[in-house]
Structures are given as structure tokens and as C-alpha cells.
């Protein structure tokens, strides 16, 4: 049994190492294409890696760069947003995302301040932060029970930590709710049109431009109901948008 476990572990480690080295080689090749000005090919190479299950903020960042250089503004914004979900405090990602957003026709994207604040950390980071405060709070309270002599010293910090834990848990709750219930659709088609209903011959609702970021209201079959900043809503085919979590 031990031998079997050892063999399985060795195979797993080898496979992971091979995959990582393979991904690094592909990444370098795609970067080479980019450096040669072959942006569309570079974007395809990055996309192939993503489809193979390799995900990293740098890969998504480079994908965004290749897409924006290829003129695919929507796909670039989608890639930057995905990179931002993994690395929310990466200034380069944010800079390029803002640069891409400035190219979008039809008004700049404006997210809520709450989303911006909660988006400063990933959901897992919020989870770890809240869990650490939770553990520390209960740890201090347990220490005060075991060593009553420490009560005078620990009581103040424990109460402060309890308040902090409640606040962090609230933030975590809001972040989780936003993550699971709020989605953003990034238009990736240059000539997308929203319709008043989820069918092809429905009346046009309003035109959206490549790269527009819209709030997702509903999904039905292969249609996505979206709303823009001014509150207009319409249905758009899901092939014309990339749907991403809001944070």
C-alpha cells in the first residue's frame, strides 16, 4: 500500500512538473509571437493555454495585451477582468484594463464603490482574513477561560478582535453574495445588438459596442439579459458576450 502511494505521488509530481515546464515553454512561444508583432497568433496561443487549463494572472494579462493589440477590445477587457479576479491589486492589470476601457465607445464603465472596495481582495483572501480573525477571537476567549489571570490583559484585544471579526464576516458575506449572484457581461462582438426579447426576430433594444461591460440580469437558453449603466435592458446572444463574476 505504501509502495502504491509512493508511486502515485511520484507520478503526480512528475506530471505536474512536466505540465508546468510545458506551460512555460508555450508561454514563451506566445510571448515570442507577441514580440514579433503577431498579436492575433499570440492571442490564439495564450487562449490555447487557457483552454488547456493553465490559469495565471500573467497569462491572462498577456492575453489581454495580445487581444487589445489585435483590435479585440472586448476580449481584452474580459481577459484583464479575469486577471483582476486572480490578482486584484496588480497595478499593471488595472492600468491596462483602464486603458482598454477608455477605448470603448458609448460611455465608460462605472462599477459601484462597494464592488471596487470588495474587489481589492479575492473571495479566498476575504475568507482567510475572516477565518483568521475568527480563530484568533475564539482563541483569546478560550485563553481567558483557561488562564483567568490573563483576563485583564486579553479582554480589550479580544473585544476589538470580535468587532473586527463581525465586520470581516459582513464583508465576506457581501463579497460572496456579489461573487455568486452578480455577473458582468463583456461584449466581445464588434456589432452586437441587444433585443427586447430572447429571440432572434425580437425588436432591437439598444446597440452596444465591443468592450461594453453590462450587468447580467437573467439567462435563458443561449441568451443573456443585460442592462447598461443608464438602466436600459435587453437580451443579447451569449456568443457575443463573455460572462464573468462581478468580483
Amino acid at each position: 500500500m505504501k509502495r502504491l502511494l509512493f508511486i502515485l505521488s511520484a507520478v503526480l509530481i512528475c506530471a505536474t512538473t512536466l505540465l508546468a515546464s510545458d506551460a512555460t515553454a508555450n508561454f514563451s512561444s506566445a510571448n515570442q509571437l507577441y514580440d514579433e508583432g503577431k498579436f492575433s497568433q499570440a492571442a490564439k496561443s495564450y487562449e490555447t493555454m487557457l483552454n488547456a487549463g493553465v490559469v495565471s494572472p500573467n497569462l491572462l494579462f498577456n492575453t489581454g495585451n495580445a487581444e487589445i493589440k489585435s483590435g479585440n477590445l472586448g476580449r481584452a477587457i474580459a481577459a484583464y477582468r479575469r486577471a483582476e479576479l486572480l490578482a486584484p491589486r496588480d497595478v499593471d492589470v488595472r492600468a491596462n484594463l483602464n486603458f482598454a476601457r477608455n477605448q470603448v465607445q458609448g460611455g465608460a464603465f462605472s462599477g459601484s464603490h462597494w464592488d471596487a472596495m470588495l474587489g481589492a481582495l479575492t473571495l479566498n483572501e476575504w475568507t482567510v482574513l475572516a477565518a483568521m480573525a475568527f480563530w484568533l477571537t475564539f482563541g483569546l476567549f478560550a485563553a481567558m477561560q483557561i488562564r483567568p489571570a490573563l483576563k485583564n490583559i486579553l479582554q480589550g484585544p479580544a473585544r476589538g478582535l470580535a468587532v473586527l471579526t463581525v465586520l470581516l464576516c459582513l464583508c465576506l458575506g457581501v463579497a460572496a453574495n456579489t461573487h455568486f449572484s452578480k455577473q458582468i457581461a463583456v461584449v466581445v462582438s464588434p456589432d452586437a445588438v441587444t433585443r427586447s426579447g430572447p429571440f432572434s426576430d425580437a425588436q432591437n433594444a439598444f446597440a452596444v459596442h465591443d468592450g461594453a461591460e453590462l450587468a447580467v440580469l437573467d439567462r435563458r437558453n443561449n441568451w443573456v439579459q443585460v442592462a447598461d449603466n443608464s438602466g436600459r435592458s435587453g437580451w443579447i446572444q451569449d456568443g457575443q458576450v463573455e460572462v464573468l463574476p462581478a468580483i
Binding site: 490559469v55 500573467n58 483590435g71
Partner: protein
């Protein structure tokens, strides 16, 4: 008594006569009412209207409830129920009732219509109305004389500033809607026809209301501007434009309650058509870079970096500002770009007004030099046709010098801004370059907060805290309860002592065995009876244990153990089996004593 006997029948006869007379009178009255008042009529509030207006058809049923309410169906007329009303009245001692069913009739086309005879049944009688004529005429704009006389409640004018236009030109057409000063409110304004053959209809913007005096009457003017883009040359016509609106006149304004009562009237407004001459664009002196832009524009241009390697991207930024069809504007194809690879430009349009015919369109285009012999970015030209002066214009950006090296090393970008210095807080000219390393791979999977194992792990600190809390409570309880503390201590002593007894029994150490046994018995009884262990006597123990509910068997066993201890002082030698049996008996007795409630 006799008188009373006669009086009673007389009174009853009189009452019966009154009741009979009342019923007969009521019956006659009802018969009169039923026979004379039943009727069914139909009427239109107007028999001649304009297309866009509505007319009300009222069906009046008198003398009873109709069994069926007829609903006319006339092709070309949209007929919808507008509500029911009923009324009762007494006039000269005669009661009358009526039910009125109203229909709103909106003609769909002009022409003469006939509303057919309608039949209804009231109280078993059939009534039929006469057919009615309704004349619907095409709306026409009122004459200047009508307008100046102040007879028009509302009217509309169409104003087109340009009478000569060119294909591709954007013109702003204004529809001015006038409401006379006795119009207290208006609702539901909408254009019913806006023909503009040869134009593309763009944005519509409502302006602020104005006051105007026409003849002797004051009018409120609502201007509505509309952007039209000319599609083709030739004689083009805008209009006739028609609209409909509900006007309210004659109401009473009760301040905070608003307008009460008054007459509502659906009015059709029509503005006469206007003819515009669209001239073809001149075919002579057309600049090579002209791609259909018509209007009046200015251009700014920037490009960078200018020091780069073969294949490196140069971002060109072209801003076209002015008046025209900016939203559909595209960058013209440029000559002399053979040494460059060009990518599709991105664009962003920022309008300066609601009609979106003025503003700025910004293009960003990526071009990459294909060889190191490239020394400049060729001159950039943008041409447009200005309808104001009827000539073509070309805006030109001179060639931008470039330093292109064959080595694939990307220097820091420098932005060439030949015309304007870079403003602060300007949008960055290029993106941050790509990353050379793949970096840490992100693990795909569900967030931790949804994983049951992670959530279960969060129970650990809670359990630890509650365990510490329980432990603390138990410790405090023990510290504050000497008897409990003694009970625990004796329990521990007995547990240890039993092991000693078994050991002494196996080693046949009789003296040590009985000395330990006696001490344990004293400790246990002392704890049970809450008195010092050395003060326990056999008799004292008996009395007090009985009061605690000890069974006779327990007491007997206890006595036997005490006796065994006493005998051992004189005849200490016993076999290990006997000692072991005594130890078992002690264990049993102690167990029973510990179960006593103290």
C-alpha cells in the same frame, strides 16, 4: 268586552285595505315606469373628425338593465370600451334609470364610416338604433389666417434651416408645437407620422418651453429637434409630420389637489411638408483621402513610440472634432503604408449635444514597421466635404520621423505630439508591456467558503472555546464546593486504595491490607456523612447511614468489613483468597455508599 270584540276586526280590515292600496299603487307605478321609460339610443359626440383624433360612442339604455350590450365592429375603426355609468332620477313623481356604455373610437384611416344599427333587449323588448355616419378626414395644417385668428387650440410647425443639402450631411429639423394659453395640461404627445424619405432619422431632443404671441393669443411653444442625415441627392421631402396629444381645458385648479374637472380632448396636429433640395457631391477635385465625411472638422494627431524595433507596435491616435456624422465616421485608407502592418482601429465617440451631430471621435490604430529601412511614419490625411462652402478640405499631419532598429529590443515608448503639448492627466498612450514569466499558476476550483471541509474546520475554535468554558465552570464549581472537592478526592483515594488492596491481597500482606481497608472505610464514610474520617464509629455510621437510605444489606456488609478489620488486629493471618474476597466486598460496599444521596 263586546266593543273590544267589534273593534279588533274593524282595525284589521282597515290595515289590510291600506296594504292592498299600497301594493296596487306600486304595481301601477312600476307598470307605468316599465311600459313608458324603456329605451335604447346610440350617439357620437362628433360626426366629423381628423385622423389621429378619437370620438366617443355612447349607448344609453333607459328603463332597465340591457340583457346584452352590443359592440359595433367596423373595419378601419379601432373601438375600445371607455367605461360604463348608471343613474337613477325622480322627475314629477316618476322614477327613471339609465345605463350608459361608452366606446372610444380611433380611426385607423381617413374616409367615411358607418356605424351599423345596434340592437339591445331591455325588459324583454327589442330596441334598435339608427345607423350613424362618421367622417374622418386627413389631418391638415391650419392656415396662417386660422393661426393668427387664435382659433387653434394647438398646432405644429416644422422648421428646416437648410434648404440645400448634400448627401451625408446632418441637418437639424425642429418641430415646434404650440399650445394656446387656455390649454391647462397636455398628455401623451406622440408623433403619429414622421415621413422623411431620403433621410436617416437620428436622435430626437426636446428643448425648453418658450412663450410666443400670435395674433391676440399667447401660446406655449415646445421645440423638438430631430437629427436627419441626408441619404441621396434629389428633391427630398420632410413631412407632413403629424402628432396626437390629449389636451385638457376648462378645469379648476385647486392648488395642491391639482387640476380637477375640465374637458379632455384628443387633438391631431399636422405640419405641412417641406421640400429640400439635395445636391450631389462635386465630382471634381475630390481628394484621394476623401471617404465620405461631410461636415466641418478639425484633427489632432499623435503617434508613438518613435524609437522602436522592427515589429514593435506604434499607436496612432487621431481625434476628429466638429459637426457632422461623427458616429459613422471612419479613418480613410492611407497611401504609403506598404512598409507597415496595420490593424483595425478602435474608436470612441463623445458627443457634445443630445442630437449627437457635434463632438469628438477618437481613433486608435496600431501599426508595426516591417523592416529597419523605415524612417518615418507617412503623412496622414483626412478629407471632408464642407456643405457650408461647398468644397472639399483636407487636414494633413506631416510625416513623423521614426528610428527603427532591426534588433528586437523595445525601448521605453516616447509619444510624438507635434501639434499640442501633452496635457496632464492625459489617457496613457499605450498599454503596460507583457509579462515574461508565467508566474504562479492559479488553482481552479470552488472558493473555500463553499467547501464543507473548510466550513467544518471553523467549528474547531468554537468547540475549543466551549470546552475551555465548561472546564472553567467545573473548576470554579469545585473550588467553591468543599464537599464536592472532598468527594472527588475520596473517589481518587478509593480508586488508588483498591489497587493497593488487591496488591496486598496477592502478596498476602494482611496487616497492610486491613490497615488500608480501615482507612479507606473511614474516609469513605467520613465523606458520605460529612464528618472527619477519624471520628467515625460503627454505631454512629449505622444510624446516619439509615437516614441516608442505606439498605440493610449494605449496612451488614459494612459491619462485616469493620469486624474483619477488628479481628485482624488479633488474628491477622489470612489467605490471599480471603483477602481478595474482602477487597471485592469492600468495592461493592463503597459503590453502594457512593450512590447514596447526601
Amino acid at each position: 268586552m263586546a266593543i273590544e270584540k267589534q273593534a279588533k276586526p274593524m282595525t284589521g280590515h282597515y290595515n289590510m285595505a291600506v296594504v292592498k292600496a299600497f301594493f296596487i299603487a306600486t304595481f301601477c307605478l312600476l307598470m307605468t315606469w316599465a311600459a313608458g321609460a324603456a329605451n335604447f339610443t346610440a350617439s357620437l359626440d362628433r360626426d366629423s373628425i381628423q385622423l389621429g383624433e378619437t370620438v366617443t360612442l355612447s349607448l344609453t339604455f333607459q328603463g332597465g338593465q340591457p340583457r346584452n350590450v352590443p359592440r359595433p365592429d367596423v373595419p378601419g375603426l379601432q373601438i375600445v370600451n371607455a367605461g360604463n355609468s348608471s343613474s337613477f332620477s325622480f322627475d314629477n313623481g316618476q322614477m327613471s334609470s339609465s345605463v350608459v356604455v361608452s366606446y372610444s373610437i380611433a380611426p385607423q384611416q381617413a374616409g367615411d364610416f358607418t356605424i351599423p344599427a345596434l340592437t339591445a333587449e331591455i325588459g324583454g323588448q327589442q330596441f334598435t338604433t339608427q345607423p350613424m355616419k362618421l367622417k374622418v378626414s386627413k389631418p391638415g395644417a391650419p392656415s396662417s389666417a386660422q393661426i393668427n385668428s387664435g382659433s387653434e387650440l394647438a398646432f405644429m410647425r416644422l422648421i428646416v434651416p437648410e434648404k440645400t443639402v448634400y448627401p451625408g450631411q446632418v441637418i437639424s429639423v425642429q418641430a415646434q408645437v404650440f399650445f394656446r394659453d387656455d390649454v391647462q395640461n397636455m398628455q401623451g404627445f406622440q408623433f403619429t407620422a414622421l415621413p422623411a424619405d431620403g433621410f436617416t432619422v437620428g436622435k430626437m431632443v426636446s428643448g425648453g418651453r418658450q412663450q410666443a404671441q400670435i395674433g391676440n393669443r399667447n401660446y406655449t411653444v415646445f421645440p423638438i429637434s430631430l437629427a436627419l442625415t441626408v441619404l441621396k441627392p434629389g428633391t427630398l421631402t420632410v413631412g407632413p409630420v403629424s402628432a396626437s396629444v390629449m389636451l385638457i381645458t376648462g378645469g379648476q385648479n385647486f392648488g395642491f389637489m391639482g387640476l380637477v374637472g375640465g374637458e379632455q380632448r384628443q387633438v391631431a396636429l399636422t405640419a405641412d411638408p417641406i421640400t429640400i433640395q439635395s445636391l450631389p457631391l462635386p465630382t471634381q477635385n475630390v481628394p484621394p483621402s476623401f471617404n465620405g465625411a461631410v461636415g466641418d472638422y478639425t484633427m489632432t494627431f499623435s503617434a508613438g513610440p518613435t524609437n522602436l524595433a522592427v515589429g514593435d507596435p506604434i499607436t496612432m491616435r487621431v481625434q476628429i472634432s466638429g459637426h457632422g456624422t461623427l458616429d459613422s465616421l471612419t479613418l480613410p485608407n492611407q497611401a504609403g503604408w506598404n512598409d507597415f502592418k496595420t490593424f483595425s482601429p478602435t474608436s470612441k465617440f463623445q458627443a457634445n449635444d443630445g442630437l449627437e451631430d457635434q463632438g469628438t471621435k477618437t481613433f486608435e490604430q496600431i501599426v508595426t514597421p516591417q523592416n529597419a529601412s523605415v524612417h518615418e511614419l507617412p503623412a496622414f490625411a483626412f478629407s471632408y466635404f464642407n456643405p457650408e462652402d461647398g468644397t472639399y478640405h483636407t487636414l494633413t499631419q506631416p510625416a513623423t520621423p521614426l528610428t527603427v532598429s532591426a534588433v528586437a529590443a523595445t525601448p521605453l515608448p516616447t509619444i510624438a505630439t507635434p501639434k499640442q503639448p501633452a496635457a496632464e492627466n492625459q489617457t496613457p498612450q499605450d498599454i503596460v508591456p507583457i509579462r515574461e514569466n508565467l508566474g504562479a499558476l492559479a488553482r481552479a476550483g470552488t472558493p473555500w467558503i463553499t467547501r464543507p471541509a473548510f466550513l467544518a474546520l471553523q467549528a474547531v475554535p468554537v468547540l475549543a472555546f466551549f470546552s475551555a468554558l465548561v472546564w472553567r465552570k467545573r473548576t470554579d464549581n469545585l473550588a467553591n464546593n468543599p464537599r464536592l472537592r472532598r468527594q472527588r478526592a475520596v473517589e481518587q483515594l478509593i480508586a488508588g486504595g483498591l489497587a493497593d488492596l488487591n496488591q496486598f491481597a496477592s502478596e498476602n500482606k494482611s496487616n497492610e491490607f486491613f490497615a488500608t481497608l480501615f482507612r479507606l472505610l473511614q474516609e469513605q464514610l467520613g465523606e458520605r456523612l460529612d464528618c472527619p474520617a477519624f471520628s467515625i464509629t460503627e454505631a454512629d455510621a449505622d444510624n446516619r447511614l439509615i437516614s441516608l437510605g442505606a439498605t440493610p444489606e449494605t449496612l451488614n456488609s459494612l459491619r462485616e468489613l469493620f469486624q474483619a478489620c477488628n479481628q485482624a488486629r488479633y488474628a491477622p493471618v489470612q489467605t490471599p483468597q480471603e483477602l481478595s474476597a474482602i477487597a471485592q466486598k469492600f468495592k461493592k460496599v463503597v459503590g453502594e455508599l457512593q450512590n447514596l444521596k447526601t
